[in-house]
């Protein structure tokens, strides 16, 4: 690695660390929010228990597996979905701060992605893990089985899930170069991940048409795939699908970033 690239990467690391520090200031409030998020999880668990009670397993999902599935989705969503960084990037374009971002001797994408990563790493430690502990205590959410070989699938899958979610979020921010309001995009992304990403119901339980659509979209990388691997469903082919989506979305983001630079039309300031 040449010294210039090393310096750049170190700057991105500092940017991610600052993002973590900023969030650490609010960890008290975030802990309250964790309980509220857990309530959402308990709600969905109650719904699934109500519809599956005293029924035989469907597509391999019994009441208990669905309970774990929903609990894990609530945890993974914090590293893939629940983060408004993208909207904040768009806000910087609206208020003119993006002009400063564009002048920095750093890549726009690298700068924002490192900040988004910072938020997500913080979320993993202060949101996902505490939530997993709450669910562990309340519904007996187990540690992943299958030993080291399974962990070698789960860890990269959760990292790829984080990357896909971060890139989708960054793409929302980039949309700010073309549209004034991006709140609706964030809302839509959240809905798509919850629905088509299998965070509310696993892909196997979707109607055939819906499942076919969900299977060709990237949103399952943010919920269904990482959670399925944790629960021992699926193998290395899942990881390959996730990797392909991560690469494709990163490429798209890099290409759009180059186009956005040419289009930069900062309002306000």
């Amino acid at each position: 690695m040449n010294p210039s690239m090393h310096r750049t990467l170190r700057t991105y690391a500092v940017s991610a660390r600052m993002s973590i520090r900023r969030n650490l200031q609010y960890r008290g409030q975030h802990m309250i929010n964790n309980f509220a998020s857990a309530v959402f999880g308990f709600m969905y668990i109650a719904i699934w228990r109500a519809v599956t009670v005293s029924r035989p397993p469907i597509e391999g999902y019994d009441s208990q597996t669905l309970t774990y599935y929903i609990a894990l989705c609530q945890c993974v969503l914090w590293i893939t979905t629940f983060d408004r960084s993208g909207v904040q990037i768009a806000q910087r374009i609206r208020d003119g701060s993006a002009g400063i971002d564009l002048m920095r001797p750093l890549g726009l994408m690298g700068l924002h992605m490192s900040q988004i990563y910072g938020v997500r790493l913080y979320n993993f430690a202060f949101r996902s893990l505490p939530m997993a502990m709450i669910f562990g205590a309340a519904v007996g959410l187990p540690l992943p089985g299958g030993g080291a070989p399974r962990l070698l699938l789960i860890i990269p899958a959760w990292l790829l899930a984080m990357h896909v979610g971060a890139t989708l979020n960054y793409l929302i921010g980039l949309a700010g170069f073309w549209t004034v309001e991006t709140g609706w995009l964030y809302l839509s992304l959240q809905t798509l991940i919850l629905m088509m990403g299998g965070c509310s119901l696993p892909l196997e339980l979707m109607p055939a048409g819906m499942r076919a659509v969900a299977a060709v979209l990237p949103f399952a990388c943010c919920g269904y795939y990482p959670v399925s691997l944790y629960l021992g469903r699926g193998g290395v082919e899942v990881l390959l699908i996730m990797f392909a989506w991560a690469a494709a979305l990163s490429g798209l983001a890099a290409w759009l970033t180059a186009r956005a630079r040419l289009r930069a039309e900062v309002v306000g300031g």
């Binding site: 109650a46 109500a50 029924r55 309001e181």
Partner: protein
């Protein structure tokens, strides 16, 4: 000078109309927001429909009965979001010191705060609520499980009561902000989670959650309890009287808390 209700009405609409005009300046953005907000809430119900298409019942409620529960709550939420959403942004007023500007207005502070924004982008959500009630009623009326009077209650009365209860919960949460400042995360606990829970039969939830939704965060009176009775699934007719009482008492208590909290307010300074 004593102000009449008409004065309040005039000022509210004057300020609200200005807010609406401001919102309509970006027409494409406005239309996209309406469209995607509506799609987002529609997807929520599609999810329930998908689950119930496979499993048929949730604790004895079919998809049409759930639509009759989902519809009024969605309508209530759209009314609340349209007229009282500014309460949910109250942390911003406290952190930025913008509340100073509200305090110096010659109007009650809650009124001045709410009049700052009327969000017409919620119209899609309101229509969705009405459509869901129509879908549910298309089965319940011919089957005789819902009377025309019951339907009128679901369309005309319950959404207003629901909006009042949501406003009360939101006002109480915002009032807590006078002491703790940061309340955005508290809203998830007091508003968003209970609202999502309220569109399902509350009998499916564990006892502690059910208790919470019947008392401290009384969204049960904004949907489940009245609908349960109107569909002949249980409960007593008293709930139709109890719901307005709960809405009024909640609003009164929330306003008392607001006034008490307001005395604790410290500006951020300049």
């Amino acid at each position: 000078m004593r102000r009449t209700a008409l004065d309040f009405w005039r000022v509210f609409w004057f300020l609200a109309a200005k807010g609406m005009r401001e919102r309509m300046q970006y027409k494409a953005s406005f239309l996209l927001t309406v469209l995607f907000r509506t799609l987002s809430t529609t997807m929520d119900f599609v999810l329930i429909a998908v689950i119930l298409a496979r499993f048929r019942f949730i604790d004895g409620w079919d998809v049409f009965e759930v639509a009759l529960l989902y519809g009024p709550v969605t309508l209530a939420r759209s009314i609340f979001d349209a007229f009282a959403r500014e309460l949910e942004r109250f942390e911003h007023y406290l952190v930025s010191g913008d509340y100073d500007g509200i305090l110096v207005r010659p109007w009650p502070t809650v009124f001045a705060l709410l009049a700052r924004k009327v969000d017409v982008t919620r119209i899609g959500m309101a229509l969705q609520g009405l459509v869901l009630i129509a879908i549910g009623a298309s089965q319940a009326l011919p089957a005789g499980t819902l009377s025309p009077a019951g339907l009128a209650y679901l369309v005309l009365v319950l959404p207003l009561l629901g909006a009042m209860i949501l406003t009360a919960i939101s006002m109480a949460t915002a009032a807590i902000g006078f002491w703790v400042i940061r309340i955005d995360d508290l809203y998830v606990f007091t508003m968003y989670a209970p609202l999502s829970a309220a569109v399902f039969p509350l009998s499916i939830y564990p006892g502690w959650l059910r208790g919470l939704l019947h008392t401290v965060i009384p969204v049960a009176f904004a949907g489940y309890l009245p609908v349960l009775f109107l569909l002949g699934k249980g409960g007593s007719g008293w709930v139709l009287v109890a719901s307005p009482a709960v809405a009024l008492i909640s609003l009164w208590l929330a306003h008392r808390l607001w006034l008490t909290g307001e005395r604790q307010y410290h500006s951020t300074g300049s």
